[in-house]
Protein backbone atom coordinates (compact mmCIF):
# COMPACT_ATOMS: atom_id res chain seq x y z
CA UNK A 1 0.00 0.00 0.00
CA UNK A 2 1.01 3.56 -0.59
CA UNK A 3 0.18 6.60 1.45
CA UNK A 4 0.09 10.13 0.09
CA UNK A 5 -0.35 13.25 2.15
CA UNK A 6 -0.59 16.97 1.81
CA UNK A 7 -0.90 19.68 4.46
CA UNK A 8 -2.56 23.02 3.85
CA UNK A 9 -2.39 25.78 6.41
CA UNK A 10 -3.09 29.46 6.95
CA UNK A 11 -2.54 31.85 9.84
CA UNK A 12 -5.39 33.70 11.51
CA UNK A 13 -6.70 36.50 9.25
CA UNK A 14 -4.80 39.68 10.08
CA UNK A 15 -1.72 37.80 11.31
CA UNK A 16 1.60 37.38 9.53
CA UNK A 17 2.75 33.97 8.29
CA UNK A 18 5.43 34.09 11.00
CA UNK A 19 2.68 34.37 13.63
CA UNK A 20 1.13 31.00 12.71
CA UNK A 21 1.16 28.89 15.90
CA UNK A 22 -0.21 25.56 14.66
CA UNK A 23 2.32 22.93 13.66
CA UNK A 24 2.29 19.79 11.53
CA UNK A 25 4.67 17.00 10.63
CA UNK A 26 5.92 15.66 8.29
CA UNK A 27 6.33 18.67 6.06
CA UNK A 28 6.01 16.52 2.91
CA UNK A 29 4.59 13.06 2.13
CA UNK A 30 6.68 10.79 4.32
CA UNK A 31 8.62 7.74 3.24
CA UNK A 32 7.26 4.67 4.90
CA UNK A 33 9.38 3.30 7.70
CA UNK A 34 9.11 -0.47 7.20
CA UNK A 35 5.44 -0.19 6.33
CA UNK A 36 4.50 2.46 8.85
CA UNK A 37 3.74 6.15 8.62
CA UNK A 38 3.22 8.86 11.21
CA UNK A 39 1.43 12.20 11.07
CA UNK A 40 0.72 14.84 13.69
CA UNK A 41 -0.84 18.27 14.06
CA UNK A 42 -0.72 20.58 17.04
CA UNK A 43 -2.45 23.85 17.88
CA UNK A 44 -0.44 26.23 20.04
CA UNK A 45 -2.67 28.25 22.39
CA UNK A 46 -2.88 31.88 21.33
CA UNK A 47 -2.93 33.01 24.95
CA UNK A 48 0.35 31.38 25.89
CA UNK A 49 3.94 32.35 25.23
CA UNK A 50 6.04 30.52 22.59
CA UNK A 51 3.27 28.04 21.90
CA UNK A 52 4.24 27.79 18.20
CA UNK A 53 7.73 26.38 18.89
CA UNK A 54 6.23 24.07 21.54
CA UNK A 55 3.66 22.78 19.02
CA UNK A 56 6.49 22.18 16.52
CA UNK A 57 8.48 20.16 19.06
CA UNK A 58 5.42 18.06 19.96
CA UNK A 59 4.61 17.03 16.36
CA UNK A 60 8.24 16.19 15.59
CA UNK A 61 8.61 14.20 18.81
CA UNK A 62 5.54 12.12 18.00
CA UNK A 63 6.46 11.45 14.37
CA UNK A 64 10.08 10.57 15.06
CA UNK A 65 9.25 8.04 17.76
CA UNK A 66 9.59 4.39 16.78
CA UNK A 67 7.67 3.01 19.76
CA UNK A 68 4.16 1.65 19.05
CA UNK A 69 1.42 4.17 19.85
CA UNK A 70 -0.23 3.65 23.23
CA UNK A 71 -1.33 6.02 25.97
CA UNK A 72 1.83 5.18 27.91
CA UNK A 73 4.17 5.76 24.96
CA UNK A 74 2.38 9.04 24.17
CA UNK A 75 3.03 10.23 27.73
CA UNK A 76 6.69 9.26 27.38
CA UNK A 77 6.93 11.16 24.07
CA UNK A 78 5.39 14.24 25.70
CA UNK A 79 7.82 13.90 28.61
CA UNK A 80 10.78 13.87 26.22
CA UNK A 81 9.26 16.79 24.30
CA UNK A 82 9.23 18.89 27.50
CA UNK A 83 12.96 18.25 27.86
CA UNK A 84 13.59 19.16 24.23
CA UNK A 85 11.59 22.35 24.73
CA UNK A 86 13.59 23.30 27.84
CA UNK A 87 16.81 22.94 25.84
CA UNK A 88 15.33 24.98 22.98
CA UNK A 89 14.13 27.66 25.42
CA UNK A 90 17.60 28.05 26.93
CA UNK A 91 19.02 28.70 23.47
CA UNK A 92 16.20 31.11 22.66
CA UNK A 93 16.77 33.12 25.85
CA UNK A 94 20.54 33.22 25.22
CA UNK A 95 19.88 34.50 21.71
CA UNK A 96 17.58 37.23 23.02
CA UNK A 97 20.29 38.36 25.48
CA UNK A 98 22.93 38.30 22.75
CA UNK A 99 20.74 40.36 20.43
CA UNK A 100 20.17 42.98 23.14
CA UNK A 101 16.51 42.02 23.57
CA UNK A 102 16.35 40.61 27.09
CA UNK A 103 13.05 39.25 28.41
CA UNK A 104 10.71 42.05 29.51
CA UNK A 105 8.55 42.10 32.64
CA UNK A 106 5.39 41.40 30.63
CA UNK A 107 6.87 38.24 29.14
CA UNK A 108 8.03 36.71 32.43
CA UNK A 109 4.66 35.43 33.71
CA UNK A 110 3.98 33.70 30.37
CA UNK A 111 7.43 32.11 30.35
CA UNK A 112 6.97 30.99 33.96
CA UNK A 113 3.68 29.20 33.28
CA UNK A 114 5.02 27.60 30.10
CA UNK A 115 3.74 27.06 26.56
CA UNK A 116 0.52 25.15 25.80
CA UNK A 117 -0.61 23.19 22.75
CA UNK A 118 -2.79 20.30 21.58
CA UNK A 119 -1.35 17.12 20.09
CA UNK A 120 -3.06 14.80 17.63
CA UNK A 121 -0.88 11.95 16.38
CA UNK A 122 -1.78 9.24 13.86
CA UNK A 123 0.19 6.10 13.09
CA UNK A 124 -0.54 3.83 10.11
CA UNK A 125 0.96 0.35 10.23
CA UNK A 126 0.88 -2.39 7.59
CA UNK A 127 -0.42 -5.83 8.45
CA UNK A 128 -4.16 -5.54 9.02
CA UNK A 129 -6.41 -8.30 7.61
CA UNK A 130 -7.36 -8.00 3.94
CA UNK A 131 -4.17 -6.21 3.01
CA UNK A 132 -5.34 -3.10 4.87
CA UNK A 133 -3.55 -0.91 7.35
CA UNK A 134 -4.07 -0.72 11.07
CA UNK A 135 -4.19 2.77 12.49
CA UNK A 136 -3.77 4.17 15.98
CA UNK A 137 -4.24 7.72 17.21
CA UNK A 138 -3.69 9.71 20.38
CA UNK A 139 -5.00 13.14 21.21
CA UNK A 140 -4.91 15.81 23.90
CA UNK A 141 -7.05 18.88 23.26
CA UNK A 142 -9.46 19.66 20.46
CA UNK A 143 -7.56 18.88 17.27
CA UNK A 144 -9.50 16.28 15.27
CA UNK A 145 -9.01 13.16 13.19
CA UNK A 146 -11.62 12.19 10.60
CA UNK A 147 -11.67 9.00 8.55
CA UNK A 148 -13.74 8.97 5.36
CA UNK A 149 -14.59 5.83 3.39
CA UNK A 150 -16.61 5.86 0.18
CA UNK A 151 -18.09 9.26 0.95
CA UNK A 152 -19.04 8.38 4.50
CA UNK A 153 -17.49 9.71 7.71
CA UNK A 154 -16.67 6.58 9.70
CA UNK A 155 -14.41 8.01 12.45
CA UNK A 156 -14.49 11.29 14.32
CA UNK A 157 -11.82 11.55 17.01
CA UNK A 158 -11.51 13.00 19.67
CA UNK A 159 -14.35 15.54 19.28
CA UNK A 160 -17.55 13.91 18.07
CA UNK A 161 -20.01 16.83 17.91
CA UNK A 162 -19.47 20.43 16.83
CA UNK A 163 -21.14 21.61 20.06
CA UNK A 164 -18.37 19.96 22.10
CA UNK A 165 -15.70 22.54 21.15
CA UNK A 166 -14.75 24.98 23.93
CA UNK A 167 -12.48 28.03 23.88
CA UNK A 168 -10.78 26.61 26.96
CA UNK A 169 -9.60 23.07 26.21
CA UNK A 170 -7.13 21.19 28.41
CA UNK A 171 -3.78 21.35 26.62
CA UNK A 172 -0.28 19.93 26.96
CA UNK A 173 2.08 22.18 28.87
CA UNK A 174 5.80 22.53 28.32
CA UNK A 175 6.03 22.36 32.14
CA UNK A 176 5.81 18.68 33.15
CA UNK A 177 4.29 19.54 36.56
CA UNK A 178 1.19 20.96 34.81
CA UNK A 179 0.46 17.87 32.73
CA UNK A 180 -1.42 15.68 35.19
CA UNK A 181 -4.80 16.94 33.97
CA UNK A 182 -3.69 16.75 30.32
CA UNK A 183 -2.59 13.13 30.81
CA UNK A 184 -5.92 12.27 32.40
CA UNK A 185 -7.61 13.66 29.25
CA UNK A 186 -5.30 11.84 26.83
CA UNK A 187 -7.41 9.83 24.40
CA UNK A 188 -6.46 6.79 22.33
CA UNK A 189 -8.32 5.06 19.55
CA UNK A 190 -7.52 2.61 16.77
CA UNK A 191 -9.02 0.98 13.70
CA UNK A 192 -8.27 -0.37 10.27
CA UNK A 193 -8.29 1.25 6.89
CA UNK A 194 -8.65 0.09 3.33
CA UNK A 195 -7.32 1.28 0.04
CA UNK A 196 -9.22 4.43 -0.93
CA UNK A 197 -9.77 5.61 2.67
CA UNK A 198 -8.96 9.20 3.50
CA UNK A 199 -7.85 10.67 6.80
CA UNK A 200 -7.96 14.33 7.78
CA UNK A 201 -6.08 15.80 10.72
CA UNK A 202 -7.37 19.27 11.57
CA UNK A 203 -7.01 21.99 14.14
CA UNK A 204 -10.18 23.11 15.87
CA UNK A 205 -11.57 26.03 13.84
CA UNK A 206 -11.88 24.10 10.59
CA UNK A 207 -12.73 20.85 12.41
CA UNK A 208 -15.74 22.60 13.99
CA UNK A 209 -16.91 23.70 10.53
CA UNK A 210 -16.30 20.16 9.19
CA UNK A 211 -18.44 18.59 11.93
CA UNK A 212 -21.20 21.18 11.61
CA UNK A 213 -21.40 20.55 7.87
CA UNK A 214 -21.53 16.79 8.43
CA UNK A 215 -24.28 17.24 11.03
CA UNK A 216 -26.25 19.13 8.35
CA UNK A 217 -25.97 16.10 6.07
CA UNK A 218 -23.26 17.62 3.89
CA UNK A 219 -19.97 16.05 2.79
CA UNK A 220 -17.40 18.68 3.83
CA UNK A 221 -14.52 16.49 2.63
CA UNK A 222 -15.76 17.07 -0.93
CA UNK A 223 -15.61 20.85 -0.45
CA UNK A 224 -12.11 20.47 1.03
CA UNK A 225 -10.90 18.38 -1.89
CA UNK A 226 -12.57 20.48 -4.59
CA UNK A 227 -11.76 23.99 -3.41
CA UNK A 228 -8.75 26.19 -3.42
CA UNK A 229 -7.88 26.11 0.30
CA UNK A 230 -7.27 29.81 0.68
CA UNK A 231 -10.53 30.67 -1.12
CA UNK A 232 -12.50 28.21 1.01
CA UNK A 233 -11.06 29.46 4.31
CA UNK A 234 -11.56 33.11 3.32
CA UNK A 235 -15.18 32.45 2.39
CA UNK A 236 -15.94 30.52 5.58
CA UNK A 237 -14.41 33.27 7.71
CA UNK A 238 -16.18 36.01 5.78
CA UNK A 239 -19.55 34.29 6.11
CA UNK A 240 -19.03 33.68 9.82
CA UNK A 241 -19.01 29.90 9.31
CA UNK A 242 -15.53 29.48 10.78
CA UNK A 243 -13.84 31.17 13.73
CA UNK A 244 -10.87 33.30 12.75
CA UNK A 245 -7.96 31.19 13.96
CA UNK A 246 -4.87 29.48 12.57
CA UNK A 247 -6.03 26.66 10.30
CA UNK A 248 -4.27 23.39 9.47
CA UNK A 249 -5.52 20.39 7.50
CA UNK A 250 -3.39 17.34 6.77
CA UNK A 251 -5.11 15.16 4.14
CA UNK A 252 -3.93 11.56 3.84
CA UNK A 253 -4.96 9.17 1.10
CA UNK A 254 -4.35 5.44 1.40
CA UNK A 255 -3.77 3.93 -2.05
Amino acid sequence: MRVESETRWLPKRGNKLSEYEDAFYPKETPHDRDGSWRFAVSDGASESMLSGPWAEILVKSFCRSLVPVTKASAKAIIGRATMAYEAWLKGYLRRREREGRPVQWYEEPGLNVGAFATLLGLSLVAGAPGNGLRWEAVCVGDSCLFQVREDRLITSFAVKRSSDFSVRPVLISSKPAKNQVAFSKLKYTSGTCLSGDRFYLMTDAIAAWFLREHERGEAPWSALEASDFEDLVSRLRREGLMRNDDVTVTSIRVL
Binding site: G14, E19, D43, A45, S46, E47, S48, M49, L50, Q104, W105, Y106, E107, E108, P109, G110, V113, F116, S166, V167, R168, P169, V170, L171, S173, A177, K178, V181, A182, D204, N244, D245
Partner: protein
Amino acid sequence: MPYIAEISRGNPSCFLFLIDQSGSMRDPFGADPSKRKADGVADAINRLLQNLAIKCAKAEGVRDYYYVGVLGYGHRSGPAFGGALAGRELVPISEVAANPARVDERVRKVEDGAGGLVDQTVKFPIWFDPVANGGTPMCQALTRAHSIVQGFIAQHPDCFPPIVINITDGEATDGNPTAAAQALQSLATTDGNVLLFNLHLSSHKASPIEFPDSDENLPDNYAKLLFSMSSKLPEYMRGIAEEEGFKTTENTRGFVFNGDLVSVIRFLDIGTRPANLR
Protein backbone atom coordinates in the same frame (compact mmCIF):
# COMPACT_ATOMS: atom_id res chain seq x y z
CA MET B 1 -25.90 38.49 19.85
CA PRO B 2 -23.70 41.38 21.00
CA TYR B 3 -20.22 41.29 22.55
CA ILE B 4 -18.83 38.77 20.10
CA ALA B 5 -16.60 41.03 17.96
CA GLU B 6 -13.10 39.68 17.57
CA ILE B 7 -10.47 41.72 19.41
CA SER B 8 -7.45 41.99 17.13
CA ARG B 9 -4.78 44.44 16.04
CA GLY B 10 -6.92 45.19 12.99
CA ASN B 11 -10.02 45.76 15.12
CA PRO B 12 -8.75 46.78 18.57
CA SER B 13 -10.91 47.62 21.55
CA CYS B 14 -10.46 50.20 24.28
CA PHE B 15 -10.07 50.34 28.06
CA LEU B 16 -10.54 53.62 29.83
CA PHE B 17 -9.82 53.78 33.55
CA LEU B 18 -11.13 56.59 35.75
CA ILE B 19 -9.23 56.91 39.00
CA ASP B 20 -10.44 58.88 41.98
CA GLN B 21 -7.53 60.98 43.30
CA SER B 22 -9.61 63.16 45.64
CA GLY B 23 -8.77 64.18 49.22
CA SER B 24 -11.15 61.60 50.71
CA MET B 25 -8.84 58.88 49.35
CA ARG B 26 -6.50 59.70 52.27
CA ASP B 27 -8.90 57.85 54.60
CA PRO B 28 -8.16 54.29 55.70
CA PHE B 29 -9.03 51.49 53.28
CA GLY B 30 -11.66 49.12 54.76
CA ALA B 31 -10.11 46.00 53.24
CA ASP B 32 -6.72 46.80 54.87
CA PRO B 33 -6.84 49.66 57.42
CA SER B 34 -3.02 49.91 57.44
CA LYS B 35 -3.41 51.39 53.93
CA ARG B 36 -5.21 54.42 52.60
CA LYS B 37 -7.88 54.18 49.91
CA ALA B 38 -5.43 56.00 47.60
CA ASP B 39 -3.00 53.08 48.05
CA GLY B 40 -5.84 50.74 47.07
CA VAL B 41 -6.50 52.79 43.91
CA ALA B 42 -2.83 52.85 42.88
CA ASP B 43 -2.50 49.12 43.53
CA ALA B 44 -5.67 48.37 41.53
CA ILE B 45 -4.79 50.48 38.46
CA ASN B 46 -1.19 49.21 38.38
CA ARG B 47 -2.34 45.59 38.59
CA LEU B 48 -5.05 46.11 35.96
CA LEU B 49 -2.55 47.64 33.51
CA GLN B 50 0.03 44.95 34.32
CA ASN B 51 -2.45 42.12 33.70
CA LEU B 52 -3.79 43.67 30.52
CA ALA B 53 -0.25 44.01 29.10
CA ILE B 54 0.59 40.43 30.09
CA LYS B 55 -2.59 39.20 28.41
CA CYS B 56 -1.56 40.89 25.16
CA ALA B 57 2.12 39.82 25.37
CA LYS B 58 3.64 37.41 22.90
CA ALA B 59 7.30 36.57 22.58
CA GLU B 60 7.92 39.25 19.97
CA GLY B 61 6.26 41.99 22.03
CA VAL B 62 2.90 43.25 23.21
CA ARG B 63 0.16 43.13 20.56
CA ASP B 64 -2.05 46.19 20.33
CA TYR B 65 -5.38 44.53 20.99
CA TYR B 66 -6.34 47.52 23.16
CA TYR B 67 -5.97 51.26 23.40
CA VAL B 68 -5.78 52.33 27.00
CA GLY B 69 -6.49 55.61 28.77
CA VAL B 70 -6.35 56.67 32.41
CA LEU B 71 -8.22 59.76 33.58
CA GLY B 72 -7.52 61.00 37.10
CA TYR B 73 -10.10 63.08 38.93
CA GLY B 74 -9.46 65.14 42.07
CA HIS B 75 -7.52 68.33 42.52
CA ARG B 76 -6.43 67.94 38.91
CA SER B 77 -8.55 66.13 36.38
CA GLY B 78 -7.51 64.74 33.02
CA PRO B 79 -5.15 62.23 31.41
CA ALA B 80 -3.05 60.82 34.23
CA PHE B 81 -0.17 58.94 32.62
CA GLY B 82 3.22 60.50 33.27
CA GLY B 83 6.61 60.39 31.55
CA ALA B 84 6.61 59.60 27.82
CA LEU B 85 2.82 59.09 27.88
CA ALA B 86 1.98 62.38 29.65
CA GLY B 87 -1.07 64.22 28.33
CA ARG B 88 -2.25 61.42 26.02
CA GLU B 89 -5.85 60.26 26.27
CA LEU B 90 -5.54 56.83 24.62
CA VAL B 91 -2.30 54.90 24.17
CA PRO B 92 -1.72 51.52 22.45
CA ILE B 93 -1.18 48.84 25.14
CA SER B 94 2.35 48.15 23.78
CA GLU B 95 3.35 51.72 24.64
CA VAL B 96 1.77 51.43 28.08
CA ALA B 97 3.80 48.24 28.65
CA ALA B 98 7.00 49.93 27.47
CA ASN B 99 6.58 53.01 29.66
CA PRO B 100 5.89 52.30 33.33
CA ALA B 101 7.25 55.00 35.66
CA ARG B 102 9.45 52.30 37.20
CA VAL B 103 9.60 48.54 37.65
CA ASP B 104 9.79 47.35 41.28
CA GLU B 105 10.90 43.89 42.28
CA ARG B 106 8.94 41.86 44.80
CA VAL B 107 9.79 38.47 46.23
CA ARG B 108 7.14 35.80 46.42
CA LYS B 109 7.05 32.14 47.37
CA VAL B 110 6.47 29.67 44.55
CA GLU B 111 6.34 25.88 44.49
CA ASP B 112 9.70 24.32 43.67
CA GLY B 113 8.14 21.24 42.04
CA ALA B 114 9.43 18.96 44.82
CA GLY B 115 6.88 19.79 47.49
CA GLY B 116 8.70 22.84 48.84
CA LEU B 117 8.64 26.58 48.34
CA VAL B 118 11.35 28.84 46.96
CA ASP B 119 11.66 32.62 46.71
CA GLN B 120 11.10 34.02 43.24
CA THR B 121 11.72 37.64 42.29
CA VAL B 122 8.81 39.08 40.35
CA LYS B 123 8.93 42.37 38.46
CA PHE B 124 6.05 44.70 39.30
CA PRO B 125 5.60 47.72 37.02
CA ILE B 126 4.36 50.96 38.55
CA TRP B 127 2.62 53.61 36.48
CA PHE B 128 0.78 55.35 39.30
CA ASP B 129 1.67 56.32 42.84
CA PRO B 130 -1.08 57.17 45.33
CA VAL B 131 -2.59 60.67 44.98
CA ALA B 132 -5.22 62.18 47.34
CA ASN B 133 -6.07 65.83 46.89
CA GLY B 134 -9.13 68.01 46.19
CA GLY B 135 -12.79 67.21 45.45
CA THR B 136 -14.35 64.26 43.59
CA PRO B 137 -15.63 65.52 40.22
CA MET B 138 -16.92 62.12 39.11
CA CYS B 139 -19.64 63.57 36.83
CA GLN B 140 -16.98 65.59 35.05
CA ALA B 141 -14.76 62.49 34.68
CA LEU B 142 -17.65 60.45 33.23
CA THR B 143 -18.45 63.27 30.78
CA ARG B 144 -14.81 63.44 29.68
CA ALA B 145 -14.83 59.65 29.33
CA HIS B 146 -17.91 59.97 27.12
CA SER B 147 -16.07 62.27 24.74
CA ILE B 148 -12.95 60.05 24.58
CA VAL B 149 -14.93 56.84 24.04
CA GLN B 150 -17.13 58.52 21.44
CA GLY B 151 -13.98 59.50 19.53
CA PHE B 152 -12.64 55.94 19.68
CA ILE B 153 -15.94 54.47 18.48
CA ALA B 154 -16.01 56.89 15.55
CA GLN B 155 -12.67 55.42 14.44
CA HIS B 156 -13.55 51.79 15.33
CA PRO B 157 -17.32 51.47 14.79
CA ASP B 158 -17.29 47.65 14.73
CA CYS B 159 -14.97 47.05 17.67
CA PHE B 160 -15.68 45.04 20.80
CA PRO B 161 -17.38 47.70 22.94
CA PRO B 162 -15.00 49.84 25.00
CA ILE B 163 -14.86 49.04 28.72
CA VAL B 164 -14.69 51.92 31.22
CA ILE B 165 -13.54 51.04 34.72
CA ASN B 166 -14.16 53.60 37.45
CA ILE B 167 -12.11 53.15 40.64
CA THR B 168 -13.47 55.33 43.45
CA ASP B 169 -14.81 55.63 46.99
CA GLY B 170 -18.04 56.76 45.37
CA GLU B 171 -18.29 60.11 47.15
CA ALA B 172 -18.88 62.40 44.13
CA THR B 173 -18.78 66.13 44.95
CA ASP B 174 -20.18 67.45 41.67
CA GLY B 175 -23.65 65.93 41.80
CA ASN B 176 -25.31 62.58 41.16
CA PRO B 177 -23.25 60.72 38.52
CA THR B 178 -26.15 58.49 37.36
CA ALA B 179 -27.09 60.52 34.28
CA ALA B 180 -23.47 60.86 33.12
CA ALA B 181 -22.99 57.10 33.62
CA GLN B 182 -26.12 56.32 31.61
CA ALA B 183 -25.02 58.63 28.80
CA LEU B 184 -21.68 56.83 28.66
CA GLN B 185 -23.38 53.41 28.60
CA SER B 186 -25.69 54.54 25.81
CA LEU B 187 -22.71 54.82 23.44
CA ALA B 188 -22.44 51.74 21.28
CA THR B 189 -20.53 50.03 18.51
CA THR B 190 -22.20 47.60 16.12
CA ASP B 191 -21.26 44.91 18.67
CA GLY B 192 -22.97 46.39 21.73
CA ASN B 193 -23.07 49.18 24.27
CA VAL B 194 -20.11 50.58 26.17
CA LEU B 195 -19.56 48.71 29.44
CA LEU B 196 -19.06 50.67 32.65
CA PHE B 197 -17.68 48.73 35.60
CA ASN B 198 -17.08 50.18 39.08
CA LEU B 199 -14.52 49.23 41.69
CA HIS B 200 -15.65 50.69 45.00
CA LEU B 201 -12.79 51.16 47.49
CA SER B 202 -14.42 52.12 50.75
CA SER B 203 -13.40 52.83 54.35
CA HIS B 204 -16.29 50.56 55.35
CA LYS B 205 -14.96 47.32 56.86
CA ALA B 206 -17.65 45.07 55.34
CA SER B 207 -16.38 41.93 53.58
CA PRO B 208 -15.43 42.21 49.90
CA ILE B 209 -18.27 41.64 47.41
CA GLU B 210 -17.40 40.72 43.82
CA PHE B 211 -19.84 40.77 40.88
CA PRO B 212 -23.14 40.80 42.81
CA ASP B 213 -26.53 40.48 41.09
CA SER B 214 -28.41 42.71 43.54
CA ASP B 215 -27.62 45.58 45.91
CA GLU B 216 -29.19 43.75 48.85
CA ASN B 217 -25.99 43.06 50.77
CA LEU B 218 -24.12 46.23 49.87
CA PRO B 219 -23.18 48.14 53.02
CA ASP B 220 -23.97 51.76 52.17
CA ASN B 221 -25.66 54.12 49.71
CA TYR B 222 -22.40 54.88 47.87
CA ALA B 223 -22.01 51.17 47.08
CA LYS B 224 -25.67 50.92 46.03
CA LEU B 225 -25.30 53.95 43.74
CA LEU B 226 -22.15 52.56 42.08
CA PHE B 227 -23.84 49.16 41.69
CA SER B 228 -26.80 50.81 39.95
CA MET B 229 -24.37 52.63 37.61
CA SER B 230 -22.56 49.41 36.63
CA SER B 231 -23.27 47.48 33.41
CA LYS B 232 -24.52 43.93 33.52
CA LEU B 233 -21.88 41.39 32.51
CA PRO B 234 -22.44 40.29 28.89
CA GLU B 235 -23.35 36.65 28.47
CA TYR B 236 -19.93 35.57 27.21
CA MET B 237 -18.18 37.22 30.20
CA ARG B 238 -20.59 35.48 32.54
CA GLY B 239 -19.62 32.19 30.93
CA ILE B 240 -15.94 32.73 31.66
CA ALA B 241 -16.74 34.12 35.14
CA GLU B 242 -18.64 30.91 35.91
CA GLU B 243 -15.63 28.86 34.78
CA GLU B 244 -13.52 31.01 37.13
CA GLY B 245 -15.78 29.99 40.00
CA PHE B 246 -18.07 33.05 40.27
CA LYS B 247 -21.79 32.46 40.67
CA THR B 248 -23.63 34.66 38.17
CA THR B 249 -27.17 35.42 37.02
CA GLU B 250 -28.41 37.58 34.18
CA ASN B 251 -28.48 40.48 36.66
CA THR B 252 -24.82 40.15 37.64
CA ARG B 253 -23.08 43.49 37.29
CA GLY B 254 -19.50 44.61 36.76
CA PHE B 255 -19.22 45.91 40.31
CA VAL B 256 -16.73 45.03 43.05
CA PHE B 257 -16.76 46.32 46.64
CA ASN B 258 -13.35 46.43 48.40
CA GLY B 259 -12.26 43.41 46.40
CA ASP B 260 -10.33 42.39 43.33
CA LEU B 261 -11.45 43.58 39.91
CA VAL B 262 -8.38 42.21 38.12
CA SER B 263 -10.35 39.04 37.34
CA VAL B 264 -12.20 41.13 34.73
CA ILE B 265 -9.07 40.92 32.58
CA ARG B 266 -9.42 37.14 32.58
CA PHE B 267 -13.01 37.52 31.37
CA LEU B 268 -11.72 38.97 28.08
CA ASP B 269 -11.51 36.66 25.11
CA ILE B 270 -8.60 37.22 22.79
CA GLY B 271 -8.06 33.60 21.82
CA THR B 272 -7.69 30.06 23.05
CA ARG B 273 -6.81 29.96 26.71
CA PRO B 274 -5.74 26.62 28.18
CA ALA B 275 -8.08 25.39 30.92
CA ASN B 276 -4.97 24.26 32.85
CA LEU B 277 -3.05 27.54 32.45
CA ARG B 278 -3.02 28.31 36.17
